[in-house]
């Protein structure tokens, strides 16, 4: 039986606390140093479209998409051993309503020398430039990290370990980080025919390698690869292949699909953030390659962002894009004919097509950040999202339309 997320959370916290206590005893009673910090964002967003976008945003406005509160405890037991725990109060990840506390970081760290860092516990495996700090709004200037690329970012909070090796040069450093872990995760889909969101409970095992080159300033180049294996909790497993039953005259309907017990996904990352004169240019791209599952065909995403700091103001312009490389199966599912006699209704077909992870959209964002202090930022953004044939980020069948999103948020740290 699947452990609930609360149980996992408790186990992780208990393990970390036990290990911390053991370390405190092992250090001979030397007092550990503690530091508490916090961060948060209060953000509102409203669109000009009644269809819900990114779980929460529609034309009635929401605070749920961009608001959260986090607290972090950093502990240093001695020169080599330390620990950190980060708890977020944020929208739930297993249903669309409500907020709950979520454990993001809870790990022990061991740093025997400058060049090595070992971490054990709940970790966010880095791949994207801002993946590990995406919840800390003051740490970047965009009002919202482009969802085309950061859509998959939350899939990498694992209970496991990471090993990082750093090579220092005068002006920059190179870090190679390998990680491995498991997580319980709920993948969201939206059944358009039934008009309901569904969450697939899974156990995800994954790991990867990420190489980062950075200087003391803002330059960073990152390349990475993650391999994850998704094991669904339900007895049938994941739907892996749609089958079609010919009806004659070119018509067909849905047959009994095939299922698989696990899905393997390769994800590739490439990103860079480089100052160019007075401008800061950031760009990332990802390629997500699930192996042979019709509901989640491979996709590629990318964005580029240009920002310029003008005193306390930082205006920016961003363009992001995501596209699914194989949409034929989705088109076939949509084109199926309902045959109630076979148990295939219009709702079934609509549900089947809409729960497929098909993305064809691009977004342009124009916004600014006003920095009161490094720990307080006000952000405003206008985003125009153009939907192509289909985008599963919308809870509905929008196609070939533009949606405007207006966002205002205040981020802080203490």
């Amino acid at each position: 039986m699947r452990a609930t997320s609360t149980t996992i959370l408790m186990k992780t916290v208990q393990t970390a606390v036990s290990a911390c206590l053991a370390l405190v005893l092992a250090t001979g009673g030397h007092a550990a140093e503690y530091a508490i910090s916090g961060f948060g964002s209060l953000g509102g967003a409203i669109t000009d479209e009644s269809t819900i976008y990114q779980r929460y945003m529609d034309d009635s406005g929401t605070l749920m998409r961009d608001s959260l509160l986090g607290v972090q405890l950093d502990a240093k037991f001695n020169d080599q051993w330390g620990a950190a725990a980060q708890v977020l109060i944020a929208p739930r990840t297993d249903e669309d309503t409500g907020v709950d506390p979520q454990c993001k970081w809870t790990f022990l760290s061991y740093r025997p020398a400058n060049d090595w860092l070992f971490r054990l516990g709940r970790l966010s495996l880095g791949g994207l430039l801002n993946q590990q700090n995406m919840d800390v709004g003051v740490s970047y200037d965009l009002a919202r990290l482009p969802n085309e690329v950061y859509l998959l970012s939350s899939a990498y909070d694992f209970d496991g370990m990471s090993i990082a090796r750093t090579w220092n040069a005068n002006a920059y450093e190179i870090t190679l980080e390998g990680s491995f872990g498991v997580q319980d995760r709920d993948f969201r889909g939206y059944k358009n025919g039934s008009e309901a969101a569904i969450y697939y409970s899974t156990e995800v095992t994954g790991g990867g390698l990420v190489a980062t080159i950075s200087d003391f300033d803002r330059t960073m180049v990152r390349i990475g690869w993650h391999l994850t294996e998704i094991d669904p909790d339900n007895a049938n497993g994941f739907l892996s292949k749609y089958n079609f039953v010919p009806l004659g005259d070119g018509r067909y309907t849905l047959g009994a699909p095939d299922y698989t017990s696990r899905v393997r996904v390769n994800t590739f990352f490439l990103g860079a953030r480089v100052p160019l004169g007075e401008f800061l240019v950031s760009g990332e791209c990802t390629a997500v390659r699930p192996a042979d599952v019709d509901p989640a065909p491979p996709n590629i995403s990318a964005y580029i962002s240009v920002a310029r700091k003008l005193g306390n103001w930082t205006p920016y312009l961003t363009h992001a894009r995501i596209w699914t490389s194989e949409m034929d199966t989705w088109r076939r599912v949509r084109g199926a004919s309902p045959v109630p006699l076979f148990g295939v209704t219009e709702v079934d077909i609509d549900d089947g097509a809409s729960t497929m992870a098909i993305f064809e959209q691009n977004s342009s964002m124009l916004g600014f950040t006003y920095t009161f202090t490094p720990k307080q930022k006000l952000k405003a953004e206008v985003m125009r999202t153009h939907i192509g044939e289909r985008s599963a980020m919308f809870d509905g069948n929008l196609a070939h339309e533009d949606v405007m999103v207006y966002s205002l948020s205040y981020s802080f740290a203490f």
């Binding site: 530091a35 910090s37 961060f39 400058n114 700090n133 800390v136 220092n168 003391f216 300033d217």
Partner: protein, 178 residues
């Protein structure tokens, strides 16, 4: 006999040819006011006040450390930058513990600029990110030079900084920054 009371105000550079009558030509007493001179005088006064409130001219920032740090070898700006950004925790096999003055302190601003070529704000922002990605907390902060010296004297491996004019016994001078 009625006295002339007329107010003239000049704008721009003082020039006899650029006078404008203010007050509708009311003439009781002739009074020349050179606005430019007034502004220059005000600026001079403000300058005196600002200079008077500023800290004494710095003789440079000196990097100091606990007396146990006798065999550090060469400590340069690059290594200091790594220490203060959490990238280096040991120098010559010895654990080091950096300590900072509070955000905005004039000596801290100079130290960060000289070692990291960053503003204090950028440095604070750097640590917000580094902490958020689970790579440690920023160096502890003290409120003044007295606390800085106490911390360094009592903490093996501690490294800090102060103005060159404030060097006290009981700490080791590791580097002088211009």
């Amino acid at each position: 006999m009625e006295q002339e009371r007329q107010v003239f105000v000049t704008f721009g550079w003082p020039s006899w040819g650029r006078r404008y009558v203010w007050g509708g030509g009311a003439v009781v007493r002739r009074c020349w006011i050179h606005l430019w001179y007034m502004l220059a005088g005000a600026g001079f006064l403000v300058g005196i006040v600002v200079v008077g409130l500023s800290p004494p001219a710095s003789a440079g920032v000196v990097v100091i450390g606990h007396e146990s740090l006798t065999s550090l070898g060469s400590l340069d700006k690059n290594i200091l930058g790594r220490i203060y950004t959490g990238r280096t925790v040991q120098v010559a096999g010895k654990a080091v513990q950096p300590v900072n003055l509070a955000t905005g302190d004039a000596i801290r601003v100079v130290f960060i600029r000289e070692t990291l070529r960053q503003s204090d704000d950028d440095y604070v922002a750097y640590w917000i990110v580094r902490r958020a990605i689970g790579k440690g907390a920023p160096p502890p902060e003290v409120n003044n030079i007295r606390e800085m010296v106490e911390f360094i004297r009592s903490t093996p491996g501690a490294i800090g900084y102060l103005d060159a004019s404030q060097i006290v016994p009981g700490v080791k001078v590791l580097l002088t920054l211009p």
